[in-house]
Symmetry: C2
Subunit: 342 residues, 2 copies
């Protein structure tokens, strides 16, 4: 299943609104087929793995990171394909919450006499599929707030153009995350201060995620580097701005941040990497719209500067504790990640 | 030498203005004597180790964490004692910067025909002796700023009595640090808000470090828990306060923070654990008086609150990078330490 998850990871950022899925077919301890879902509209992971295995699939075991589908979408049901290929046993990481599947894929396999085992590396799979699951279950993308701060908790010096907080290795990691996300989001303040491109240069085989700019009045300059082909501009409903007619852009006119996320979900965006600034992130935080945080803590002290969150006051007792916390050293920085919502 | 450093650690917080020193005597691969310097006025580490080894010390090797002394202080020179015992070889971690020693101890040993090896685990020894070295070389104590912050860089909610930021395991670790320090320092704001005792309850064999309270006008209540037998009150020179006559207290009347530290050094305090609040720590930081930081990062988000440092604005390029950074997981928190000064 670890191999299947690694296969699935190859599709991250490409499959939405479909999930990233990987499949590995094993016979007599030997891997005879591998596949992943590369993009919505393309065949599913199982199909590629079955193709590679060919006739040898008969009697073999398939490891799939998500319950095989049971319905006709843009491709025929994978459960049928597994049955037709003579697969003897299917090991599944996580069930498919899509109401058109939701257990029916497993039922179909069992009814065909195939042995089914579920829940193998389920937590890892659910985390990998978090964007897809958010879209299906909540009708909005998963939001990951990424920031880098000094050891005294500052993401930037006050009001200045900023040198980088984190190490080059950490910044390369961020580009990998951009490559795996459907969209990278920033607020107008960040655009005006840093004019970031939000791209994935330095990632081999990378592609730029769509840039989403939250700019209520649509008042950033049309020359901003984040306004590129396919970018999404989120404005306040009713606002007039020359940018609304920019042919490169998709405009989302929203009544609230929550509404904006729903509309981003309708655009098929399942994973949004929120890169700040603090004002935008604080608004997301205040409305409990942040699902995960990924924080680089750089071993340096700034003294004064901007905090990563500036939301309404809470008492320390009411601080939100992260779940499933991970820590890792990246180029001298400490990377800490964790989940906020269920 | 690792064993000798562990011996030395047993004296931490008890030996000032002397250094913590450990000694292990080895013969034919067997440890035949161990000792540490328990307290100023008591014999040095070498003496205890030689006593345990007795006649077997003849021809043996002594591992000492600090260059043996060569002068008559409150005890006779240890170099002489090692020579008299017939030690054949002395391995030393770090030289003694005390101008009365400063290489003379090693010379004396070599002149007596003893083989001398230096620099073994020197960095570890220098860090362990940082307080003593600061006192000898700079005439002031080493200052360690310890704080615990949330993953969004907040040490406390704004202006409220605060629940703890870090885990119970982290708070136990702080008590161990207090037990190893000569003094624990706080500002008046922390006394007024939290009324901490700054003691070492829960540390087996622990003793309370002296409490140092920075209160320029001497205006905290006499009933504050930190004002206990042996506490030091640091006030602005020329200030009048009823506390100045409190028989439990030593009063330091200072013209600046730097002056206050010099006077604390004259009291024999070599290591000060600075526990906040942010206002006091920021003043230390602004004057570059912080030598080391120890930071617990707790995996939770507060949203708004107080930063660990509120010093004058710097740009991110001018951020101070820590040296010799260490990271460790403590009870779910990430402990990050590093050095600021040379």
């Amino acid at each position: 299943m670890t191999l299947a998850l690694a296969e699935a990871a190859r599709g991250l950022g490409r499959t939405s609104p479909n999930p990233p899925v990987g499949c590995v077919i094993v016979r007599d301890g030997e891997v005879i087929g591998r596949g992943f879902h590369p993009e919505a509209g393309e065949p599913h992971a199982e199909v590629f793995a079955l193709r590679e295995a060919g006739e040898r699939a008969r009697g073999a075991t398939a490891y799939v990171t998500l319950e095989p589908c049971s319905h006709f979408g843009r491709t025929p049901p994978c459960a049928d394909a597994l049955i037709a290929a003579g697969i003897a046993r299917v090991v599944v990481a996580a069930g498919d919450p899509d109401p058109r599947v939701n257990g029916r894929g497993l039922e179909k396999l069992r009814a065909a006499g195939i042995g089914v085992l579920t829940g193998v590396l389920e937590a890892e799979a659910v985390r990998q599929q978090a964007g897809f699951r958010s879209l299906v279950q909540r009708g909005r993308p998963q939001v990951i707030y990424k920031y880098a701060m000094t050891l005294d908790g500052k993401v930037a010096a006050n009001g200045e153009a900023n040198g980088p907080v984190s190490s080059p290795e950490s910044r390369r990691r961020v580009m990998q995350w951009r490559n795996e996300a459907d969209a990278v989001a920033v607020g107008r303040g960040t655009v005006l201060l840093d004019d970031p491109h939000l791209g994935t240069r330095e990632v081999e085989g990378g592609r730029d995620a769509r840039a989403v700019i939250f700019d209520p009045e649509g008042s950033i300059p049309a020359t901003a580097r984040a306004l590129r082909e396919g970018s999404v501009l989120v404005v306040r409903q009713g606002t007039h701005s020359p940018l609304l007619g920019d042919p490169r852009l998709t405009v989302v006119a929203a009544t609230s941040l929550g509404d904006a996320l729903v509309q981003l979900g309708q655009l098929g965006l399942a994973t949004v990497l929120l890169e700040g600034g603090a004002t935008l992130a604080s608004a997301f935080f205040a409305e409990q719209l942040i699902d995960e945080v990924r924080v680089f803590v750089a071993p340096k002290l700034l003294g004064a500067g901007l905090s990563p969150l500036l939301a309404p006051v809470r008492s320390m007792h009411a601080a939100l504790r992260l779940r499933d916390v991970t820590t890792e050293l990246v180029g001298g920085d400490v990377l800490i990640t964790g989940l906020l919502t269920d």
